[in-house]
Point group: C2
């Protein structure tokens, strides 16, 4: 039984999972990501957790063979195996994560790292809906908007390993503040938190005291509540999805005009809203495409399980590297 | 002496050249592109012209060996060898150009076709400034804005052969009419004709009767005259370059955020203006880049000779295919 390890480094927790060839998590464990930057200690903790986990798996499956470790991390650099200037992690500016892991795990030849959205795209390619695709893109809608681009069957890492930052393409010049400091980026509009901003803007614009969402604070609101309000026919919530889809479709058209992908996969909390988000997105995409692309690009929900996707994507990186 | 043929299909003329390994045009010939769609006759004319040309070259160079034919055409599809729905050509909607050429030239195994901007990018990669680059992009500024994208050392053709339409990415939502019918595209602002529109807009806005450019009609103006006016310290002309650079840099940042290229090459008439166009473009690019990309992306003038670039680029496609 061939297995790979996926490690997902989040701002709060680090999830470690052992994944089989079908992309199913055989066993997993979670440890806190330290909020103060003791990287050596953190690597020790990961090592301890992973050793414990592999013992457990080997006890259950006598034929278990672990092929390598894949890591998904914010601002992860595939080429160098480093995590660089990750805003939500407390380590040094540049952490040589793969090198540090290699010292602990000399038994694994393949230890690889990339950013979370690239890992999700690789997960889709190895285990999910993009198995037979050579050209596709994955957009992850969460706190931010991430993206992973696949061209000619290969991840696009670019000259320095940091390609695929489509969340930071310009949507509306001079528009909303984006976390990166440049105004008007897609992420400021179409992330889960962008949707919250849209809801609050509409409530303020329309003085919409009767909206379900007007009873929530800015800090309480999330995309799930906006979805539930839309299902309850709340006008504000429905407009949030329409606007989000309009903006996302417009931006996806730019990506299509760059790369002409076969399909676009959407991943993350807001995709649970189904037609509420997909319908206006697809409509806007086609309205913004050149004739030769119109109605030819599939927009699909990621087939990865939301809860495990980060681990599974990271583990897929091992397969992608071994192939 | 190994040679390749480059054919550049323009709306008015078709240029056919024989090119050596250094990217120098050994000999060339030009025939009219028919304005009424008799494709078989046109192919006959190309065949006759090329046969004449190769006789000439073989008379001069006894060791001449022609390896194949590369074609650059608007809306050229590399995968299928077709020209599809080209707005400025008068043929059928879909012309199987490579198949038609193959019937005439059974002696050449390699007959390949792509669009003009891709051909320019391949020319840069084979003969020009991108020789050692695996990740770069080429933007061509002319009547329109074209682009050719190179990722992991390969042209990006995408799922259907039409990738690299960056001239039709959204610059200003709801902005200027673009030839494609969608408002606000980069091409409507940063093509040579976009610059003319900017000039006339500024003159109208400022009532700039004293500008050199106020003595020209809309139809007379071209980017060369705007450049000459800028050199003569004409305020309108200088602002045209500043705005064009601002817009172009903003859009290039989006492409960098997709692909993280090592360099961006600019090609076409407006690049003759040197610092007038490059300085504001580079400044705006860096202002719109995430910190990890800032001041890391070279913006360079194409090393291809403006006059021959289309032939040379098309001929490079043969080398690229043979490698």
């Amino acid at each position: 039984m061939k297995l790979t390890v996926g490690i997902d480094i989040g701002g709060t927790n680090t999830a470690i999972g052992i994944v089989n060839e079908r992309g199913e998590v055989v066993n997993k464990i979670s440890i806190p990501t330290p909020s103060h930057g003791e990287i050596e200690k953190y690597i020790d903790e990961i090592a301890q957790a992973l050793n414990e986990l592999s013992e457990r798996v080997k006890a259950e499956h006598r034929d278990a063979e672990i092929l390598g470790i894949g890591v998904g991390a914010p601002n992860g650099n595939f080429y160098k195996g480093t995590i660089e200037y990750a805003p939500n992690l407390s380590f040094d500016d540049i952490v040589p994560f793969v090198d540090l892991l290699k010292k602990k795990f000399t038994q694994y030849e393949t230890i690889v790292l990339t950013n979370d959205a690239n890992a999700a795209a690789i997960g889709e390619m190895i285990y999910g809906g993009a198995k037979d695709m050579k050209n596709f893109v994955m957009f992850t809608l969460g706190t931010g908007v991430g993206s992973g681009l696949v061209v000619n069957g290969e991840m696009v890492y670019g000259a320095d390993g940091f390609a695929g930052e489509c969340g930071h393409t310009m949507l509306i010049p001079g528009g909303r503040k984006c976390g990166c400091g440049i105004d008007g980026h897609l992420e400021a509009y179409c992330s889960a938190s962008g949707m919250k901003r849209t809801a609050i803007e509409i409530i303020a614009r329309d003085n919409a005291a009767d909206s379900i969402l007007a009873y929530k604070t800015f800090n309480e609101l999330d995309s799930k509540e906006i979805y539930e309000a839309a299902v309850a026919d709340d006008k504000v919530a429905i407009e949030v999805f329409e606007k989000t889809g309009h903006w996302l479709g417009m931006s996806l058209a730019d990506t299509v005009h760059h790369l002409s992908p076969e399909a676009i996969f959407l991943f993350g909390g807001p995709t649970a809203a189904g037609d509420y988000i997909f319908k206006p997105t697809i409509e806007s995409l086609n309205n913004h495409l050149l004739p030769m692309f119109k109605n030819k690009i599939e927009v699909k929900k990621s087939e990865l399980n939301l809860g495990d996707a980060a681990i599974v994507g990271a583990s897929a990186l091992v397969w992608k590297t071994l192939v």
